[in-house]
Assembly symmetry: C2
Homo-oligomer: 413 residues x 2
C-alpha cells in the first residue's frame, strides 16, 4: 500500500469519528490494553528480532535501551491506555456561546483535529502511547516510527487492529511500514490527508520535519533550560533546586543546562551548590568568575551556553545583576523552561514578565514542566513553539474548535 | 539593509514590548492615525506613482481598484487604528490559575507572539491594518507587500515611523523594501527572528508560503462555501439566504459557491431561488436534475464543484438526502463556512456535528463569518487551518500564552 492510500483511508476513517461516543472510545482503549497484555509474548518475540538486528548494526547503548521491550514495559503501555479511559473526553465541549444583536446564537465547539501524523524514532512504546492519546481525542493517527523498531511496531499495531477490527474502522490507526527516507518525506507532503504532524525525537529529526513539511507541525522538545539564582535567594532552596533540575533526570528536555548566579551571592552559594552537584556526579563548567571561587572548575566556552547536554554536565556563569541574567537567557534559551530563585518580589515579577518561554518559574525546579505534573494526566509532548499549544500538550492540545451558529433566517446587511 | 538585519531588529524590538502598557499602545495608535490624516496628500502622491506604473504594466482592473488610495480610504485606515484603541488589550490576561497538591501555583499568562511576518499583495490598506492589529496585541511586525504598492507602502510606513520614532523603538514595524521573489523566500526561512507568518492574498500566494516557509504559517482565506437546502427548509428563508450568501459581496471568501438542494423541495424552491439570483445578475450552473427543473440552465461540470468563483456565478446540485449533501461537502469544501437551511432538528444537529469547517451555520447566511460580525471588533484574516486559530482571527489569535509557576522551593520527587 502506498503512502497516499494510507492517507486517504485515514481521512475516511476520521469522518466517522464524530459519531463515536466517549464510552465507545474508552471501550476500544480497554480492548487495546487487554490485547497488549495477552499478546505480550508475541510482541516480545518480534521485539527480539529488532534487538538482534540493532546489535548487528551496532546502534548506541541509549538507543538500544529505548528499543528494548520487557513484560513490565508492555504492562506500562497497557496501563497508559487504561489511564486515558479515566480522563475527561475533551471533544464536544461548547464554550463562549452567546447571542449576537441580530439574534444569531454563536459558540465554539471542541472537535478532533482529524488526522495526526507522528514521526518518531526507535521507541516502540510511542506507538502505543501516540495511538491512545490521538484516539481518545477523536483523531485518526498515521505512525511512522524508526526503522530499527519496525517489527515491534508491526506487532503492536497488529495486536490493536485484531482487538477492535470488528467494532470500529481499523484505519483509525495505521503504521507506515516502509521506513525509507522517501516514505517520511512523502508523508510530510500529504497536506490533503494529514492535518498536523508531530515529530518526536532528537533535534535533528525535528529540524528535518520543520524544514520539509508543508503540513502544519507542532515542534516539541528541545530544552536549553536556565536557572537564575538572584542576590536574595534562600541558599538552601537554590541548592536543592539546581541539584534537582540538573541531576534528578538529566536526559530529559526540562532538565537545567545553565546556572546563572548573581555576583553578590556567588561566594556563599557556589561552593555549596558545586559540592552538592558533584556528589550527584555532575561535571561543572564555569566562566572565569566561577573559576575564581571554585579553582578546580573546567572553563566553559561560548559553545557551552548554547548546548543542551542532556547529561551530567552543567554550565555556570556569574552575572552582575538580573538584567544580565535576562539578557543571557533571551540570547541562549530555546523557550522551554526557565526559573528564578529569589526573595525579591519585583525581580520575581520581572522574570515572569520578560522571559519568553513555555514555562517560567519562581522558586521551583524546571523539572515540573510535564503533562502529569501540570495535572493533564498525560502528554503527547512539550511544545516549544508559540502557535496552537505551548508547553506540555495534553488531550486538549490535539483537538481544535469550530464555530457553530444557530439562526432563524438571518442575512447580512 | 538585508533581510536578516530586519529580522534581528524586530526580535530586539519585541523584547521591549513586554514593558509597554496598554495606554502607551493606544497612544501610539492614535498618533499613527493622526499622522495618516496629516500626511494624506503625501501618501496619495506616492500612491499615484504606483498607479501610473501599474497602468503602464497593465495590471487587472480588480488589482488596480485595490491598489488605489483615496482620501476616504486613508480616513478609513486611520479610523481602523482608532477602533483598535477601543478594544480590550488581550495581553496580560491570566487564566486557569490553580494550586497543585505540592503547593505550586500555576496558571497561563497571555503574551504577544513576538514577531509576525505578513506577506500580502498590492493592497496598501493592509500595511496600516496589519501594523495596527499586530501592535495592539504586543507584536512587532515585518511587512512584505506586493511590489505594485511599494511607493504607497513606503509612504505609509514612513508616516508611522515619523509619528512615533521619538517615543518608541521604531523597529516595531518594518517594511521589506526589496520586493524581489528572493526577499520573500528569504523571509520564509528566518525562523530565528519571525515567530509566525501570515500570508494574505490569493490561493497562489498562500500555497507558495505554505510550501516554502519553515516558519509556522497561519493559512487564511480560501473559501469554497456551501449551502444545503434541506427538505423541510422554510422556502422564503432559503431564498433570502442563498441570494445574500452569493450576491451581497461575491468577491469575498465567505460568499457561497455551491448550493445543494434536497430533491423533494427542488421543484418548489429552485424556480424561486434561480429567479431571485438572476435578478442579482448571478449566473447559475446546475447538474442534470437542476436542468430538468430550470431548462435554460448552464450545465455544471466536475470542475464547478471545486471552484471558488469569487464572482456572480453559482453551482447548483440536487441531492437525494442529507447524507449526499454532507458527503459532497466533505469532498469539496475548503473548510471555511457551510450552512444548512432546515426545520428538521435532527438534521440541523447532524450538519453541525459532521461538517468539519471553521464555521457551521443553521438557517443563516455564510456571509457572517467575519471578525466584526462575530463581535471581535476586527480581524487579521480568517483561518482555514485547524491549528492555533480557526475562523475569524481577532486580536487574541495573534497572541499566545506561557505557563507561569510560583513556588517556594519545590523540587520534583
Amino acid at each position: 500500500m502506498n503512502i497516499s492510500q494510507i492517507g486517504e483511508k485515514a481521512k475516511k476513517a476520521s469522518l466517522d469519528m464524530s459519531k463515536i461516543s466517549s464510552a465507545q472510545k474508552n471501550e476500544i482503549l480497554k480492548l487495546s490494553a487487554d490485547a497488549l497484555i495477552k499478546n505480550a509474548d508475541y510482541i516480545l518475540e518480534e521485539n527480539k528480532k529488532d534487538i538482534k538486528a540493532a546489535e548487528i548494526n551496532g546502534i548506541s547503548k541509549v538507543m538500544l535501551e529505548r528499543l528494548t521491550l520487557t513484560k513490565k514495559r508492555i504492562e506500562d503501555m497497557a496501563d497508559g491506555l487504561l489511564q486515558l479511559t479515566k480522563l475527561d473526553d475533551p471533544v464536544g465541549e461548547i464554550s463562549d456561546m452567546k447571542t449576537l444583536p441580530n439574534g444569531l446564537r454563536i459558540g465554539k465547539k471542541r472537535v478532533p483535529i482529524g488526522v495526526i501524523g507522528m514521526i518518531y524514532e526507535a521507541r516502540p512504546n510511542v506507538t502505543s502511547d501516540a495511538f491512545g492519546l490521538c484516539f481518545k481525542a477523536g483523531n485518526c493517527v498515521i505512525l511512522r516510527g524508526g526503522k530499527e523498531a519496525i517489527n515491534s511496531n508491526k506487532a503492536i499495531i497488529k495486536t490493536f487492529k485484531d482487538a477492535f477490527s470488528g467494532i470500529i474502522n481499523s484505519d483509525i490507526v495505521q503504521l507506515i511500514e516502509d521506513t525509507s527516507r522517501e516514505s517520511s518525506v512523502a508523508m510530510m507532503k500529504m497536506k490533503d490527508y494529514i492535518d498536523v504532524l508531530i515529530p518526536r525525537g532528537g533535534a535533528g529529526l525535528i529540524k528535518t520535519v520543520v524544514e520539509n513539511s508543508i503540513i502544519p507541525v507542532i515542534e516539541t522538545g528541545v530544552g536549553n533550560c536556565h536557572i537564575y539564582v538572584d542576590e536574595t535567594a534562600v541558599i538552601g532552596d537554590a541548592v536543592n533546586i539546581i541539584v534537582n533540575a540538573k541531576a534528578q533526570r538529566p536526559s530529559v528536555c526540562n532538565a537545567c543546562e545553565t546556572l546563572l548566579v548573581h555576583r553578590d551571592i556567588a561566594n556563599k552559594y557556589l561552593p555549596l551548590a558545586v559540592k552538592a552537584l558533584r556528589e550527584e556526579n555532575v561535571e561543572v563548567r564555569g566562566d572565569e568568575k566561577v573559576a575564581q571561587i571554585i579553582p578546580d572548575i573546567i572553563l566553559a566556552t561560548e559553545n557551552d551556553w548554547a548546548t543542551e547536554y542532556l547529561d551530567y554536565i552543567l554550565a555556570v556563569k556569574v552575572v552582575d545583576n538580573i538584567n544580565d541574567a535576562i539578557s543571557h537567557i533571551q540570547k541562549y534559551s530555546t523557550g522551554h523552561s526557565e526559573a528564578i530563585v529569589t526573595q525579591n518580589y519585583t525581580n520575581a515579577e520581572r522574570f515572569i514578565d520578560e522571559i519568553d518561554s513555555a514555562a517560567v518559574y519562581v522558586n521551583a525546579s524546571t523539572r515540573f514542566t510535564d503533562g502529569n505534573e501540570f495535572g493533564f494526566g498525560t502528554e503527547i509532548g512539550i511544545s516549544t513553539q508559540k502557535l496552537h499549544a505551548r508547553g506540555p500538550m495534553g488531550l486538549k492540545a490535539i483537538t481544535t474548535t469550530k464555530y457553530i451558529i444557530y439562526g432563524n433566517g438571518q442575512i447580512r446587511k
